[in-house]
């Protein structure tokens, strides 16, 4: 079935672009991982995590996530040229599966 998924080797730019979309897919997963992290914080001494620290942590992760998304969106948008309306396929190299 791999045969129908395009050529084995692609040009450097296309390759970079595919990895960029991979990054766009993986970024929220990293975010989820970091957001769920506080669940593990309950230490064995039974002490609860601190709201002040937890808040700072969450907002820091949040800001980092947004920054990353900003960079990814900019780069993905730049490569695709005019991606408006319903024409052909604005984001090539993607089979949506």
């Amino acid at each position: 079935m791999a045969a129908s998924h395009g050529p084995l080797f692609v040009a450097r730019r296309a390759y970079r672009r595919r990895r960029l979309t991979d990054a766009a897919r993986l970024w929220p997963i990293l975010g989820l991982f970091l957001f769920v992290m506080p669940v593990l914080w309950q230490g064995d001494d039974g002490q609860l995590p601190q709201t002040a620290f937890g808040g700072l942590y969450l907002f820091a992760v949040w800001a980092g996530l947004i920054l990353g998304a900003f960079v990814l969106a900019r780069r993905l948008g730049r490569g695709s040229g005019q991606s408006s309306t319903m024409t052909a396929r604005p984001w090539p190299e993607d089979r949506g599966e």
Binding site: T21, A24, V39, L48, I66, A69, A73, W91, G96
Partner: protein, 901 residues
């Protein structure tokens, strides 16, 4: 201090201002000057209706009760948007491609255009949104009462129910005025979206102002705030892992499935590229909204007297420090949050109710009476207006029933879990070709019932809708059926319990049903189109066979839904796409599919499908067809876009050629007839002239006879001259050598002149003229005499041929995009379809010469005149009679070389 009257005045002024913004945006959009209204910023801001009054007031209350847990409600959506490449991108693409009008429409379109599923999703959405709307009414009411208590003037606490009622009534009015002003073909509401975007700015500014005031004005800086937090009762973070993960999940699900979010995210989306901006900008907005929540909660708990409602800290904190202005700003922020949510939710739900319940019912009631569908737009608009009122009324009754007592956050979560029941169907529909309508139906039913039983009904409290014993011991004392401890899972947080059971049973039923059922053909094709949406437009092969539907019948149908102009423009574009002139494309499968999609944009996929099937008499697809479709799809996917394009072009050319050929064949017959025609035309008057002059030569003729015969000779000579004049005129026009006298004129005067001049054609017939005289006052720079000549011709034709009794002629003049159109529509039998291609040719007459009394050159001359004036005259089908449209530019396109003469 702020008086009650001032508060009401501020609210009214604010709503009036919103009204102006919406009105202005709508005007700009109508004029095609969208500009920055269609920018990613407005799109992102409109998404902020996710932050309702629940966020604005409730988040602080939530934080005051359970610390950082409130933030989960914003982390879920953040992850969904940051991960736009996974789901949102596909959702928006599918939504735009299929012209989806609501989330119910999406599910119905994906699963075989089944209206039953549409109805189910509609019911779930309405049920889940009711508490949410109630929540908005409650928060506005509460915020009013804050200003009432503790005022020195001591104005009486306003009746809360009355306040809620007036708020609901006002919102109904606003929503109806802007949400259902017209039935857009694509369901976009530019005015509303712009107003919502403004409200988004308003609530952000308000919350940030209160936050800044609290952090720097009260606490004295960020580090002091941290110290306050550590010293407060919120210092420890009572993390509940189950709730933490469950809430992130359910809020992520809700942003995808809340009807109002779907409306702004998918339906109102004007450009897919906006999603890329929203992927970081919307999380940024959410973060900004949550930034000061914990500080406000902590300071509120510390400063305000014990027992004050933490849901209202945003208002009571500034009031405690006597900052009336800031409190008023905060009040407006909360008001914005509530109103924007209610408006969009009501529009989204009303669209669903009208498209999936009212219109199908109406269609069913007139089954067997196919044919003229009439103007359905009025019905749809009325249905939407009533739905909006009904939905707000439901919200109001929920508010009264629930007593408006429970904490804001709890109510919001009920709605979240309710709409999340649509998630399995949505995700399954987008990513799994095997997901079937049977599975979705089972899943939705299961999930919805479990949600109702374990979360929604108990939300009214023990002894509310479910009796206390039932909640404590289960129905008929069956312990494992206790609503909040299903299957013996007691000791679980009720929220978590509801999420867990409703969604897992939902998914179980969905998957089982999908695995065991075999979907129908339409459904399989839609599955392919949805799952492979990025494989290009050809992913869904055309699945209709030549249906033999009459394009004109379809036009009449379409006019009922889109309105006359829209329908004609659409049909003309489609005809052009096929390489045909005029307004009627061939009813090819390709065209019918596009038409269906266009109609789906107005009334939803299921209804559009049913309508088209009813009219086009679409053939049922057999198994062989399906196999052919499957292998076609494989081939199409592998073939290059270039090949596709070429073949399309070839088809177009072939069609144009065959049409030209048809016309040529008909014309050559005509041309052969031309000589005999012209000789005949010339000979008839000549014969009578000769005969009568011979009679005149008789000496013994009575004088009165002599006078009569001379008269006949004169008449025939006049007819002969007219014929020769016409021929000469035509040849001059055809060679583009006509002298034009271009001057400014008033269209109204020209039409008057034409009507007066044409009145001596069959003067015995009393014609009724239906004109909108006011609309005719249009300035036009053209050769007025020539234009009047065209009008006279069209009017006299109507006088001659219209066979209705009483005969009526409707004249509609309009100006649109630099062109003027004048329609002449009579109420007669019209012109048969096969003759329409020829009526503008020379010597073509519909009836006998005797009756027509002309040589059949009139319309040919009209056509040539209009061509030299830079316009056109065309037959307008589907108007219930013979109809002609004259189109001309407001001023000559280029300065014609002979304009000065």
């Amino acid at each position: 201090m702020i008086s009650f009257n001032l508060l009401v005045a501020v609210c009214l002024a604010y709503v009036g201002f919103l009204f102006l913004i919406a009105f202005w945006a709508e005007r700009r959009a109508d004029q095609g000057r969208g500009g920055w209204l269609h920018s990613p910023a407005v799109y992102t801001l409109s998404l902020s209706i996710y932050c309702t009054a629940w966020t604005f007031y409730g988040a602080v209350g939530y934080a005051a009760r359970s610390g950082l847990e409130f933030v989960t409600i914003y982390l879920g959506p953040t992850l969904v948007f940051v991960g736009w490449w996974w789901i949102l991108r596909k959702l928006v693409r599918v939504g735009r491609r299929e012209r989806v009008t609501s989330i119910a429409d999406l599910i119905s379109a994906r699963f075989g255009k089944s209206n039953l599923l549409g109805v189910m999703v509609t019911v779930i959405s309405v049920a889940a949104s009711t508490p949410y709307i109630a929540l908005q009414l409650q928060s506005v009411t509460l915020s009013f009462s804050v200003f009432a208590t503790g005022t020195p003037q001591g104005w009486a606490l306003p009746d809360q129910r009355a306040t809620a009622f007036w708020v609901a009534a006002g919102l109904t009015l606003f929503t109806i005025l802007f949400g259902t002003r017209n039935l857009d073909a694509d369901e976009r509401h530019h005015g509303v979206v712009t107003a919502i975007a403004f409200e988004a700015v308003m609530k952000l500014v308000a919350l940030l102002s209160v936050g800044v005031f609290v952090v720097w004005g009260v606490a004295g800086g960020p580090s002091e705030v941290l110290a306050h937090i550590e010293a407060s009762q919120l210092a420890d973070w009572p993390m509940q892992p189950g709730r933490w993960v469950g809430l992130i999940f359910v809020s992520a699900a809700a942003i995808l499935t809340l009807p109002r979010m779907f409306q702004v995210m998918v339906v109102e989306n004007v450009d897919e590229a906006h999603l890329a901006t929203a992927s970081w900008a919307f999380p940024l907005y959410l973060m900004a909204m949550s930034l000061f929540v914990v500080p406000i909660a902590v300071i509120g708990l510390e400063v305000l007297p014990k027992g004050s409602n933490p849901d209202l800290f945003v208002l009571t904190l500034p009031l405690a420090y006597d900052r009336g202005g800031l409190a008023l700003l905060a009040f407006l922020g909360g008001f914005s949050s509530a109103t924007s949510m209610v408006i969009v939710a009501a529009i989204a739900l009303a669209t669903m109710v009208s498209n999936h319940i009212v219109v199908p019912l109406w269609l069913a009631s007139r089954r067997g009476r196919a044919g003229d569908a009439g103007d359905v737009r009025g019905l749809v608009l009325l249905a939407r207006r009533l739905s909006i009122a009904a939905i707000l009324a439901l919200g109001y009754f929920y508010y009264r029933l629930s007593g408006g007592s429970s904490a804001l956050a709890a109510i919001g979560l009920i709605a979240f879990v309710g709409v999340a029941q649509v998630l399995p169907a949505m995700i399954g529909g987008l990513f799994w070709r095997g997901a079937s309508s049977v599975g979705v139906g089972m899943g939705l039913l299961t999930g919805f019932s479990v949600w109702l039983y374990s979360f929604f009904l108990p939300s009214f409290g023990a002894g509310g809708l479910l009796s206390a014993t039932l909640i404590a011991e289960g129905p008929w004392g069956i312990g494992w059926l206790r609503p909040q401890a299903l299957f013996g899972l007691s000791g679980m947080d009720p929220l978590l319990h509801a999420i867990f059971w409703s969604l897992s049973l939902n998914i179980l039923a969905f998957v089982t049903g999908s695995l065991l059922s075999i979907p129908g053909p339409v459904e399989r094709i839609q599955a392919l189109a949805f799952v492979r949406v990025f494989d290009g437009d050809a992913a869904a092969p055309s699945w209709t066979r030549d249906s033999g539907a009459e394009a004109e019948e379809l036009l009449t149908l379409t006019q009922g839904f889109l309105g006359n102009d829209e329908a004609l423009v659409f049909f003309r574009t489609e005809a052009g796409r096929q390489g045909k002139a005029g307004f009627l494309p061939d009813a090819t499968p390709d065209f019918i599919e596009r038409l269906e999609r266009r109609l789906a944009g107005a009334v939803g996929a299921a209804t559009a499908h049913a309508m088209i099937a009813q009219h086009a008499g679409r053939a049922v697809i057999s198994a062989e067809d399906l196999l052919a479709v499957a292998s076609d799809a494989q081939q199409i996917m592998e073939s290059s876009a270039e090949l596709r394009q070429k073949s399309e072009e070839l088809t177009r050319t072939a069609r144009a050629l065959s049409e030209a050929n048809e016309k040529l064949t008909a014309l050559s017959v005509q041309k052969d007839a031309f000589l005999s025609q012209i000789s005949h035309e010339l000979r008839t008057p000549m014969t009578s002239i000769r005969a009568f002059s011979e009679i005149l030569a008789e000496p013994d003729l009575a004088p009165e006879d002599r006078v009569r015969f001379t008269g006949v000779i004169k008449d025939e000579a006049v007819r002969l001259t007219r014929l020769l004049d016409d021929l000469l005129d035509l040849s001059v026009l055809e060679n583009r050598k006509a002298q034009l006298t271009i001057r400014a004129a008033n269209l109204h005067d020209l039409i008057n002149r034409a009507l007066a001049a044409a009145s001596n054609t069959r003067p015995e017939r009393a014609f009724i003229f239906d004109r909108d005289q006011g609309a005719e006052f249009l300035p036009v720079i053209t050769d007025a005499d020539r234009l009047v000549q065209v009008f006279i011709n069209l009017v006299s034709n109507a006088r001659k041929y219209c066979d209705a009794d009483p005969p009526k002629l409707k004249i509609v003049a309009r100006r649109k995009a630099g062109r003027i159109t004048v329609d002449f529509i009579d109420n007669g039998a019209g012109i048969p379809k096969e003759a329409r291609g020829l009526i503008f040719e020379k010597f073509v007459r519909m009836t006998d010469t005797a009756r027509a009394g002309g040589a059949g050159l009139g319309l040919a001359i009209c056509r040539e005149i209009m061509a030299s004036l830079g316009g056109s005259v065309a037959y307008l089908p589907g108007q219930g009679g013979a109809a002609f449209r004259v189109t001309l530019p407001v001023r000559p396109l280029s300065v014609a070389p002979d304009s000065g003469s």
